[in-house]
Symmetry: C2
Subunit: 383 residues, 2 copies
């Protein structure tokens, strides 16, 4: 174990993805893809150059790593299960009350194995809580117009309350144009710029909060982590995770800093944080020395690393060197089993929320069942 | 002078506005109003309580104040004049090229003296550069529907390229509903959530950047202040200044932190900043000791303080204790004459930009004449 710890945390940040890793990366879900976006401004060689010295250990801080405290494990799998149970209960209440069952439509273009797996998993998750799922499978060579036509149909279909276009789309399609075609009131991914704008603004209320950052906030609230007045650092600034996570923390009255590939002294900044959310997509980027003793660490990254002992030849690790971090942090999410399971739970939560809003079902804030940070009066006043 | 320095900088942050100050505050323009929004989450008493000790001087840092360097003055008045000249030139080029003159419509509801003054000033500024201005003056007791009807007319009028509703609106009106009715392609204030969303997102491009933060960025670029990779701290998080300013700095690849009324240790954070933008609306909040030696300071605040020697009985000061700051900073904006004049220049720039976009006038990026940070390839790729 100790040796595996060392081999894990001594891994360099990947300068580039090997072909098999690329396929793994492509099997990751939306929030993982977003993580790689966070580094787009830099070329791979630039990433390599910023990886050192910017990402190197801080000698002065490394002492912290040697302390023998052990962080509380934030069990995203268990929380996600609890939330799904709450959502299932809400769906029964809604069906009994107004005879409506929430519906989620997923549009899949092409035949990527990984995308097919996601769609299948989302379908399963929907069925498990009582959400009706709809699917549109289009061939790889479909035109933009065909995809837009299906979106328009789902926009008009009263039995569909959430629409999700499985990414990535084939290269010949304009992703922005297609995502913007999804009706705002059915944009359960919360990626529409109008949703992001309302998320950014004080006193405005987005219809949907993007699933992965919402899951991160939910974990913080479920574990009673105080956010107001705390220093929070978000590593990575993708549209799907880093940026909305920072906006949510700020709305919850944290003092936020955003660390990204142009940041010259990330360790100096993360060492000041009471809360760290890492969505960088770089294996073992965040060492124990990056973390203030007692900080809470949310690890969004899921990164493939070689593992000869694994039948697949690789295993998935987070952005955070878990073995080091859990000796410094007061609480930490594992990878896998941390943020990952929360994303799909939040997708189901958003779909239920949408159905309640569209049908004006009483007390529709309960659509956020299990989303305490939305239910808390303070959050309600700001989000 | 020395005594006036002391009297200025020793002023406490105002716990509440006296009636005469309120009227002064209401005479301030949009970016100043926004400043007070930044503190909405706190009650006035809470502001008083956070004003101390959170806002107190840091003894360890106060040494910096005693250094005798003198900051370069960032002359917003001169830059604004230069930009207006560039805009006037562009308008002539456009008129000669396609016979189109940009038009700005301002809707004023009620008869507030201060609002009337703003509208008059905007009209003058338009005339000075060749923009045609349109006005709709409605009585205080107008209905929302009447205002919305005028907005709809201006939305449909091809000779109007920018629409601005003078704030504040009468209490009985829903500001959000009215502002959202302005056609996105004519929202020259850039306050529409869709604009803010696109401003927040990597790889998206807002149609308009809000005028005051755009003016702050413009000053930084005009004075050759490097932003990429620098630590930037924004004080205040209003929808109109603080939040969009932080988003713009982040898009320009600064590492940003946002300080607000819930921040426990603002001095500690601002002392790390290479660039400070203060939009707090608290007179002399930022002391010399808050500033890292050599930092660049942009002061958005315009706050009334008693001045028996002034015929008006008050004078306007910034958020930053200028006399202390200019001994520590490498460059600083004065108040007045710093950010203030830039706001209206950016409004004219946005109106010209809108006209060029609507009429597809060649090289319409030149509509941002004088807005170097928009014209710079790096900014173009991110904003």
């Amino acid at each position: 174990m100790a040796s595996s710890v060392l081999s894990d945390c001594s891994l360099p940040a990947p300068a580039r993805l090997l072909p098999f890793q690329r396929s793994v990366q492509s099997r990751t879900s939306q929030f993982q893809r977003s993580v790689s976006f966070a580094w787009r401004p830099l070329s791979l060689s630039a990433i390599r150059s910023t990886a050192s010295p910017h990402w190197s250990l801080s000698a002065s801080a490394s002492v912290a790593v040697t302390t023998e405290t052990s962080a509380k494990v934030i069990d995203g799998k268990a929380v996600a299960k609890q939330i799904k149970d709450e959502i299932a209960g809400e769906i029964v209440r809604m069906k009994d009350g107004i005879g409506i069952v929430p519906g989620l439509a997923v549009i899949l273009v092409g035949s990527r194995k990984d995308s097919q797996t996601y769609v299948r998993n989302k379908k399963k998750a929907c069925e498990a809580v009582g959400i009706k799922s709809y699917e549109a499978n289009l061939p790889e060579d479909s035109t933009e117009e065909e995809v837009l036509k299906h979106i328009a149909c789902f926009n008009d279909d009263p039995s569909v309350h959430g629409i999700l276009v499985q990414l990535p789309l084939p290269r010949h399609m304009n992703e922005e144009k297609i995502l913007n075609a999804i009706g705002l009131e059915k944009d359960v991914d919360g990626f529409h710029p109008l949703n992001i704008g309302r998320l950014s603004m004080q006193g405005r209320d987005p219809l949907f909060v993007p699933c992965t950052p919402k899951g991160c906030m939910e974990l913080l609230h479920r574990y009673g982590v105080e956010i107001k007045g705390k220093r929070a650092v978000v590593i990575g600034r993708s549209n799907i995770v880093g940026m909305p996570a920072a906006l949510l923390l700020q709305k919850a009255n944290a003092t936020i800093s955003m660390v990204h590939s142009y940041t010259k002294n990330p360790v100096e900044i993360t060492r000041q944080a009471d809360i760290i959310i890492s969505a960088a997509g770089v294996a073992n980027l965040v060492r124990g020395s990056w973390i203030k003793p007692g900080a809470v660490v949310i690890d969004v990254g899921i990164n493939p690393v070689d593992d000869a002992q694994s039948p697949r030849g690789y295993r998935l690790v987070g952005d955070v060197c878990y073995e080091e971090a859990c000796k410094v942090a007061s609480a930490i999410t594992p990878v896998p089993g941390g943020v990952g399971p929360m994303t799909i739970a939040m997708l189901l939560s958003n779909t239920l929320s949408s159905a309640k809003r569209i049908h004006d079902f009483n007390n529709h804030k309960k659509a956020y069942a299990g989303c305490m940070y939305i239910l808390s009066p303070e959050a309600l006043s700001t989000i």
